[in-house]
Symmetry: C2
Subunit: 532 residues, 2 copies
């Protein structure tokens, strides 16, 4: 993810505003030399005042226009007299901008750039598609295989580089990660201290955010989405005061983060982790934060909030998808699908206990159990998140701090990714979920039959009738079957074609003997694809 | 359920309104002779005009006051020149009323009555208690064991009397039932025909409602709640036109039904059965209907809407509880509990497939399966509904038309009722539901452990730790255990007391060997109660 940075120096700051504007205009980079790819970052800096508290006192925005299209974005103070506006153009062609500010020298500044076609690996931000699924802005399906690494951007550089390398080798394309430090004393702080040595909640530390941005950008270059957790209940020590910010400071923090980061196409907003345990915030506060983030972010990046102790109502219109902590919901058949009816949005079971050997029972899944949860979520038309806690001989855990992935599940989740990427572009939907809890797919075209911990030695071909009004599956269709060993990562084709016979008892059996021999071990699935 | 009916005759109808009022006042029954029990029905009739269409043209309401308390109720036209106001007093003491009407002779009429203590079997209307449960207005827990009999009030008298007798012998204390006729040509019609022989959607048939009211009243006398389904998608033949009522006619229908029936304490409102299949109504219409029913019913009777094809968002504030069609949700462990988090209201899985030998797969549960669904819902802190389809040698089904109950489940559901009535007054809550899907109860006091189709030959005493912040269960508590055979309806006490040992791996085992011998058959549960 590359982005174009230009700079406008405003000289003669304390002279008459009208002159300052003229000067500024003269300093704008010529439009014909600046180009940014679609969904890239156009980054424009301005020199400005350092007096007072620019974080709290200076308002800056810019209106970007391209033909009949206009987008207004908030700017932010980046320290040392530098102000900045970032913009992610969603259309190709010429764009011009004009700034507005309550600080006259920063107002009325203009510039332009040319937005060119995206490079091959740039598909734009991820959006909701087909109600329960995701796709990039260019239409490419987004096959979500997420993980969690809360504080990976707050570690020593070598660990962070290791995390990026781990992600590169992994199947993971989204990381849940905190914007703010948590339990352990961080290496950097997002705020600066005042003269008395006390943190000033109205003065951000730009270096902290430069670092975070660098990591988000690197994730983007690797094709990984950054799900940014804006609040969490884990502030301790030096950061404990953050729990007691007043409403104005909470709002200022959110506005600053959204102004800085929303131009990165791989950003998702998670309003909070385990929000029910965040002190001093009410449901009305969370409603307000959703409003604030949605109105400050002109791109509509995905928005969710993660539960513990209680559930935020994900049916509320500003929540784009459900972010669910519930390991039990993906621990057996017929569970994960239930939330779909109450919440017709993408369901991401992104905390389902972790693979590891941790003391607490939520950090002790075997690799098999982790992988089974992904498959159980997948056939239910949902998505599941990975995590890893303290696998020996490590001292710190991937899910806390990143570094190395040592569990057995990532390789198997890469196998799942391969299957899903070759599957229906619309995503996997449950099939006849009130009766046939082992099926997912796309009726009439593609089926996954998953057996979990069951160890069948055979399966008799029979595809469930889809709801009567749809009739995608009928008699006389031909299907190819592969036996998938989801743990040993093998695909074994069945050497015959199955033809659907007459509907009987709500399923279409195969003509003749539809018996398929299975290996009698756990973690087997069938992939059944229509042959045309 | 007895109610007091009084009558006010308005003579001299077409003379000057002022005189009519004076006449009417003179005709009011003396206050000191009228008494109604708390939550009984005060029923006041008035003679009035028959010209035009009183159903559509005459508005009538009455304001009832008792000390500082006032309730306004809508009246209705009952045919043959009779207007009626019904009122369910929620407080004991003196009540007076004054009518208001756009028909002058019906306006300003007054009367009074004395509200006395309720009789033993009258506990008032059912309300939501403890978030997920129900209780009567007087605080008595309402242990919901419901059934469905859609059209039982539209049958020949002998069948309807048989239905009442069946209910009397049964464990069922709520019946889902339609206000309007469905598929088969009804014996009565809720509307009358105009001169051209066509149904007039602005003229109700009071006889239809007299009959329905008689049945609701008889249910009340037997302690059975009437969950009245206001709309459904099954209109055929003579009634097919009802699907095409315009908004005004829909509203008039709801207002009429609520004015007539809301004074019966055992009424619940189900806005629709399988609402997603009701033609020509949008989500906005259903929002509007909830508003209308909630504002027309001064008592706040329970309100829900039943799904098919799509889910209405039961988190909306006017929905008092979720009414869910989903057999799969109560067909295995760990499922039913999931809706609790998304919808913190009582969850009633009131259509979970039916016991029977019907052709379609939703009407073919065995008695065991029906009973297992009740237990699986119960331990998840939810409620389940019974139904019965065409058990041989019957031609019609209980769930369609009432009559005789011939299935094997009702007797076992009576056993479940006995267990629940002796259980915690606050209702059964899930216990450690993310990990221990077999447990329900009240932490530290009472546990049900249910095994469903599993056939364990022993169980080792171990109670899950409740959430850390609660600590209702601790070391050193003493418990008695009963082995329940939920199918054979036996209770076998275990002849020892179990004492909780130190917390180990998130459970409290028993001191010593906590092994309990079990019979190795299906449908076993344990009841574990604290001994103080």
């Amino acid at each position: 993810m590359k982005f174009r940075t230009t700079s406008i120096a405003i000289r003669g700051f304390l002279i008459l505003p009208i002159l300052a504007i003229a000067t500024a205009r003269a300093a704008a980079a010529p439009a014909d030399t600046a180009s940014v790819e679609q969904w890239g970052v156009f980054d424009q800096s301005f020199s400005g005042p350092t007096v007072g508290n620019p974080f709290a006192e200076v308002e800056l925005s810019a209106r970007f226009t391209s033909r009949d299209h206009a987008v207004t974005v908030h700017g932010f103070y980046d320290g040392n007299g530098t102000y900045r506006v970032r913009f992610m153009p969603g259309r190709q062609g010429e764009w011009t901008f004009t700034t507005q500010s309550n600080c006259a020298p920063l107002s009325g500044l203009t510039g332009s750039f040319h937005c060119v076609a995206p490079t091959d690996e740039n598909h734009g931000p991820v959006t909701v598609q087909h109600t329960y699924h995701f796709a990039y802005a260019d239409g490419k399906p987004f096959v979500l295989i997420g993980t969690t690494s809360y504080s990976w951007t707050m570690q020593p550089d070598d660990i962070e580089e290791q995390t990026l390398a781990s992600l590169k080798k992994s199947p993971f394309d989204k990381v849940r990660m905190c914007v703010l430090p948590g339990g352990k004393p961080p290496l950097f702080y997002p705020y600066v201290k005042d003269a008395a040595g006390k943190f000033d909640p109205s003065r951000f530390n730009p270096d902290y955010f430069h670092h975070l941005e660098k990591r988000i950008e690197q994730m983007g270059e690797q094709g990984v989405e950054a799900e940014l957790i804006l609040f969490h209940p884990y502030h301790k020590g030096d950061m404990a005061w953050f729990d007691d910010l007043d409403v104005a400071a909470d709002d200022r923090y959110l506005q600053y983060v959204v102004a800085r980061l929303s131009a990165y196409r791989n950003v998702w907003w998670s309003l909070a982790n385990e929000y029910g345990q965040v002190k001093n915030k009410t449901d009305a506060d969370w409603d307000h934060f959703f409003q604030l983030v949605a109105s400050a972010d002109p791109y509509g990046h995905l928005r969710s909030i993660h539960n513990a102790a209680k559930f935020y109502d994900s049916n509320k219109p500003l929540v784009t998808h459900a972010s669910i902590q519930n390991g039990s919901a993906v621990a057996d058949f017929g569970r994960a699908v239930l939330y779909r009816e109450l919440c017709p949005k993408p369901l991401v079971y992104d905390e389902v206990c972790y693979e590891g050997n941790y003391g607490a029972r939520w950090g002790r899944l075997t690799g098999q159990e982790m992988v089974e949860r992904f498959w159980l979520g997948t056939i239910a038309g949902a998505y599941v998140g990975h995590g890893e806690m303290a696998l020996a001989p490590k001292k710190s855990s991937w899910t806390d701090a990143g570094g190395e992935l040592t569990g057995q599940s990532p390789a198997r989740l890469a196998f799942l990714r391969k299957i899903l990427e070759a599957g229906p572009a619309d995503g996997i939907e449950p099939i006849d979920e009130y009766y046939q809890t082992h099926f997912g797919g796309k009726a009439g075209e593609y089926y996954l039959v998953y057996f979990g911990t069951e160890t069948p030695t055979s399966w008799r071909f029979a595809l469930p009738r889809d709801p009567p009004q749809k009739l995608a599956l009928t008699e006389g269709m031909k299907f190819h079957v592969d036996v998938l060993d989801t743990w040993n990562m093998t695909i074994t084709p069945v050497d015959r074609v199955f033809t659907t016979d007459k509907l009987a008892e709500s399923v279409f059996p195969a003509v003749g003997d539809g018996t398929i021999k299975l290996p009698g071990v756990a973690d087997i699935a069938l992939r059944i694809e229509r042959v045309k």
